[in-house]
Amino acid sequence: MPTRREIFEARQRRRANLVAAGSTGLVVLAIVVLVPLAPGWEAVQRSFFNGEVFARTFPGLLNAFLMDIAIFAWCAPLIAAAGLLLAIARDLRAPALTPVKLAATAFIDIFRGLPVILVIYLIGFGIPGLGLPRPWNSPYLWGSLALILVYSAYVAEVIRSGIESIHDSQRAAAQSLGLSPRDTMRFVILPQAVRRVVPANMNLFIALQKDVALLSFIGPVEIFRQAGVYKSLLANFTPYVGAALIFLAITIPATRYADHLMSRQKRARS
């Protein structure tokens, strides 16, 4: 037998679901009916949502996306390592290491303060411009370096916020046992801090996966560039839509997973 409250809540839920379904249906209907009424709809449909072009270019786009994944795969671990080192360097307290600390602070300020595309241009065109021999003039190399510089600055700041979020009582406990400041950081503070910022860092790495496409501006043929090639070849924008779908197939699940981690962490701490 349901209780009075359960009957009441079930009725409320039914009503809420009905209203939500009704309003969503109305909006979808409006879009489906209204958008094709726009004067340019047929032209847009032909050049952006062309099924034939989509089928012809999609395998090639998928293939080009492997390059995006490869660039991401070699940048990500280097970014994680550099970010961790920068975060530690920025928190150094020994007077003799002040230059290291200042350099790390300047590095983080500079690369967080610049648009990614600007760094890619400056490094990707600037360094090969020195006339270096192969393979040292590769845009893959310098483009990757640009991504690593920018994203390690972001990761460093995220890790530092994690370090600052660890309660002082943990440091006091470690010190009271006679642990050195270095061991306190390495065994007590950092492991907790890094775990705490995993979701925030995941969001950064999702952004990185998207920003790999920016390297197309200095040469590497990855998915965005490949889509551009198809566009010129077929005089049709549908390959860009195909590329967008491929990105979304990766980034939406990854974002949802990061959200899930974050809410789980929030529950665990409350």
Binding site: S169, Q170, A172, A173, A174, Q175, S176, L177, G178, L179, S180, D183, F187, V188, P191, Q192, R195
Partner: protein
């Protein structure tokens, strides 16, 4: 013999004077209880003894050596003084055993079977042999606090400081932690406790000190402090808590 001796210890946070000239002597094997209202300076006094807070003036002598000298490396001193906190402060990402083994490994360079046997023996001694591989969040408050005590004892300290270690516990868990203190007392450990457990202080302390506004207003054997307090403030405090 004086193991720990404080003379004229002063400590202020900005304009707020927290310790206002503390003189205190703790002899080897003694148990000293610090009582007093919240904010009277008990916790700060313990943190100063362990050099977690630098003192502004006065001196703290451990076995006759001035450990409060400015510029002195606090690390070797801390290995000789164990401390247990109100909120346990276990490392949440490590098992109970890893919590206990960390400092002996890193500070004393111990390892292998010698260390793990010694740690296992400590866990067994305090009735936690079956909890060694548990993480802190899998343990009750009382068990966590006992692990924290074991963690401090694993460094074989000469003196133990306890900062209101039962205050965060549910009432039914207080007993198991006080039993550990009884056991340590019986084994002759030198101890300083900040505590609100008046019954416990009365039963086991050698000396009870009543702190008020950063001073030790009155101190002596528990029978005298609890039965014939001299100072009106001590009487007022005791009438509120007893």
């Amino acid at each position: 013999m004086a193991m720990l001796q404080l003379t004229g210890v002063r400590k202020a946070f900005g304009d707020n004077v927290v310790l206002d000239g503390i003189d205190l002597t703790v002899s080897a094997g003694q148990m000293v209880c610090l009582i007093g209202a919240s904010g009277s300076g008990k916790s700060t006094l313990l943190r100063c003894m362990n050099l977690l807070e630098p003192i502004d003036d006065g001196a703290i002598l451990l076995d006759g050596t001035d450990i409060s000298e400015p510029g002195r490396d606090p690390q070797p001193v801390r290995t000789r003084i164990g401390m247990v906190f109100q909120s346990y402060n276990l490392f949440p990402h490590m098992t109970a055993r890893a919590n206990v083994e960390l400092a002996p490994r890193r500070v004393r360079g111990q390892s292998g079977a010698a260390l793990s046997d010694r740690v296992a023996a400590l866990f067994a001694r305090f009735g936690l042999a079956d909890r060694m591989e548990h993480y802190p969040d899998q343990l009750s408050g009382g068990q966590q606090q006992r692990v924290a005590i074991i963690r401090a004892l694993a460094m074989a300290p000469e003196i133990m400081l306890f900062d209101e270690i039962t205050s965060a516990l549910d009432p039914e868990l207080v007993g198991e932690v006080l039993d550990v203190l009884r056991q340590l007392r019986a084994e002759g450990m030198t101890m300083v406790l900040a505590t609100h457990e008046m019954g416990f202080a009365r039963e086991l302390a050698d000396t009870v000190c009543f702190l008020d506004r950063g001073r030790i207003l009155e101190s002596g054997p528990p029978a005298r402090i609890f039965e014939t307090p001299q100072e009106p403030r001590t009487r007022a405090f005791l009438s509120r808590v007893l």
